[in-house]
């Protein structure tokens, strides 16, 4: 029933990192690369629950409630939605020290065709630095599981959000 052989290796690795981190509920606002991740969750991680949020700020609010209820939360979003979520980071997650494993599918990197993606895509790192959210860019499938797990460990021990940025160079790789 599982179709792991056709799944993109990077997506399999991201999911493995989330599972290894003990996160069993992912709240997300979808984008195209993340659809591969969601398919792997559905096919290979039946115990993991996913919830769609209408916008990114809401996703982090839901994640805060999951954490308060004893669940390690993951939020997945596209880089374009980071701006939508800043109020949740700065006035809920950071002051209350609520950790969320944050997985950001990057747009707006060199090679981007859509100018509407570029300003935020370029600013993601600087914005996360400005609010002191640690982040690591993942550009290769064989680094993805360890990097996601590393971010999760940092988040759930420091009790603050930590982010993984999924580079387009990696997420553009076709399915095997």
């Amino acid at each position: 029933m599982s179709m792991t052989t056709s799944a993109a290796p990077w997506a399999v690795a991201v999911c493995a990192g989330v599972a290894a981190a003990g996160s069993r509920h992912v709240v997300y606002v979808p984008d195209n690369p993340l659809s591969h991740v969601l398919r792997v969750f559905a096919d290979c991680h039946p115990g993991l629950r996913t919830t769609v949020a209408t916008r990114e700020e809401e996703a982090f609010g839901i994640a805060a409630g999951l954490y308060a209820g004893g669940v390690r939360p993951t939020v997945m979003l596209q880089s374009s939605g980071l701006g939508n979520s800043l109020n949740a980071f700065t006035s809920l997650l950071i002051p209350y020290r609520i950790p969320v494993l944050t997985i950001i599918s990057m747009r707006g990197e060199p090679g981007e065709w859509n100018a509407a993606q570029m300003p935020m895509g370029r600013a993601v790192g600087a914005i996360l630095d400005a609010i002191a959210i640690p982040h690591e860019t993942i550009a290769a499938a064989d680094e993805a599981e360890a990097a996601v797990k590393r971010a999760a460990d940092l988040a759930f021990t420091s009790r603050l959000p930590a982010a993984c940025l999924l580079s387009r160079r990696m997420t553009q790789q076709a399915s095997a």
Binding site: G69, N87, R159
Partner: protein
């Protein structure tokens, strides 16, 4: 606006209904709803937000998904819910049976000086909730109706949205500004102590 109950009195009615359930979480939206919750009765299972306007119902949703064993109460404001109406769509989709979102609807941004909200000009939050698939949506205008609605919400599966028309109270006290202590006390009170979450992994 035909409300006959102040928000502080109305908050007391909710606390009364939960008197025998000290582990029932209550998440209060920032500003006056949180101040009134503290004034009406501080308890460890109260979560006072001090920011993130609009996210109280989202937090309640996440908690209700994580802990279907608990009745989860959210004390929101009309202005706050208007800021995050998408939350109603997600609640209507996921339908956690024991989530109870109470919206203190005074038609005002009470914490910021009393500017009108859209509910003073026709916006109907009960209808919005219903339109998003939350069938258990009601509007109450008196203490007695609120008491009855909360009692129903505690016995009949939801999710519930109770739009309570209230008048503005003038809160005189505020909860702790130690946000981390609020969270830690809350998580311990509802039975998900934070240390256990830190230790849990695959």
């Amino acid at each position: 606006m035909t409300a006959t109950v102040t928000r502080l009195e109305a908050t007391g009615i909710v606390l009364e209904a939960l008197e025998r359930d000290p582990a029932a979480p209550i998440i209060a939206s920032l500003g006056h709803p949180a101040y009134d919750l503290f004034a009406a009765g501080d308890r460890p299972a109260n979560f006072y937000t001090w920011g993130s306007m609009g996210l109280a119902s989202s937090m309640g949703l996440g908690l209700a998904l994580a802990r279907p064993d608990l009745p989860v109460f959210v004390l929101d404001g009309d202005g706050s819910l208007l800021m995050n109406l998408g939350s109603l769509a997600t609640i209507g989709w996921t339908k956690p049976a024991r989530l109870v979102v109470i919206v203190w609807d005074n038609g005002l941004y009470g914490t910021t000086g009393g500017q009108d909200t859209a509910t003073a000009h026709g916006a109907d939050l009960e209808a919005a909730a219903r339109a998003m698939g939350i069938d258990r949506s009601v509007t109450v205008r008196s203490a007695e109706d609120l008491r009855r609605a909360v009692a129903r919400a505690l016995t009949e599966p939801g999710p519930w949205v109770i739009v309570a028309k209230v008048t503005e109270s003038r809160p005189g006290v505020k909860p702790s500004l130690d946000y981390v202590a609020i969270k830690e006390r809350f998580m311990a009170a509802i039975g998900s102590p934070e240390a256990a979450v830190a230790e849990s992994s695959a």
